[in-house]
């Protein structure tokens, strides 16, 4: 669904990555953990009553109103139809690769930092999941 929205905004590469990461990695992780936990009866996780749920809904409505207010104030700038004459290569793998690996743009260092972050994530997940190191 979200990938389709990305496609409609000419972000082809992001749409493909969305499907691969979310359907291939994150959803599988969720299903795997649900299988591992073997929670049994749903009674243990019964939502308790009290003031929390109504308060949360009220706060969320306030938040939505705030967003709508900001949109109404600054919306005139984004309300018009986008200019369809953006460059044809916008959102392709080619354009993204050229942007991300361009040393004159600020994306190269975050890219490398992300690789280290993912490495730390892998090591941390293994450490957490192992019974004894």
């Amino acid at each position: 669904m979200q990938a389709l929205l990305y496609l409609s905004m000419s972000a082809q590469f992001i749409a493909a990555v969305q499907i691969i990461v979310y359907a291939g990695a994150i959803m599988v992780l969720f299903l795997f953990v649900i299988m591992l936990l073997n929670l049994g009866s749903p009674e243990a996780l019964k939502e308790r009553g009290g003031l929390q749920a109504p308060a949360a809904v009220v706060l969320a409505l306030v938040f939505l109103l705030l967003l709508a207010g900001v949109g109404a104030l600054g919306g005139s700038q984004v309300n018009h139809l986008m200019n369809p004459s953006v460059i044809a290569s916008y959102g392709t793998v080619d354009a993204i690769g050229k942007t991300i690996f361009d040393p004159s743009k600020p994306w190269l260092f975050p890219f490398e930092a992300t690789s280290i972050l993912l490495l730390i994530g892998v090591v941390g997940a293994i450490t957490l999941a192992k019974r004894r190191l």
Partner: protein
């Protein structure tokens, strides 16, 4: 072919973010809370892409790539933590996970 206005995408993004926020605030199951956090991240991604397209700038798509990488790492670590907690406490109800309080 007329394009969809950017404000529609931003509105959808705001609604998705609010749904995720409600879920985080009222749910007791940390797995559902993680799904709601993913929903909020996706809402932000959607507005990044919409605004990036609107201004014809690549920065929006770059940010989405990094947000996705961080979301993947966060889910891996978070679910690992949930499994570890379940192993020691035999429950994952977040109302009963309050060891840091004492």
């Amino acid at each position: 072919m007329p394009a969809v206005p950017t404000s529609y995408y931003l509105g959808l993004s705001g609604v998705l973010f609010t749904i995720g926020m409600i879920g985080v605030l009222i749910k007791r199951n940390p797995i559902v809370i993680f799904m709601c956090i993913e929903l909020m991240l996706n809402a932000v991604n959607l507005s990044f892409i919409a605004l990036g397209r609107h201004f014809g700038h690549m920065a929006g798509q770059m940010m989405v790539i990094f947000v996705m990488a961080i979301a993947a790492a966060e889910v891996a670590i978070g679910l690992g933590i949930i499994v570890a907690i379940f192993r020691t406490k035999e429950t994952i109800n977040i109302d009963e996970i309050n060891l840091l309080k004492y």
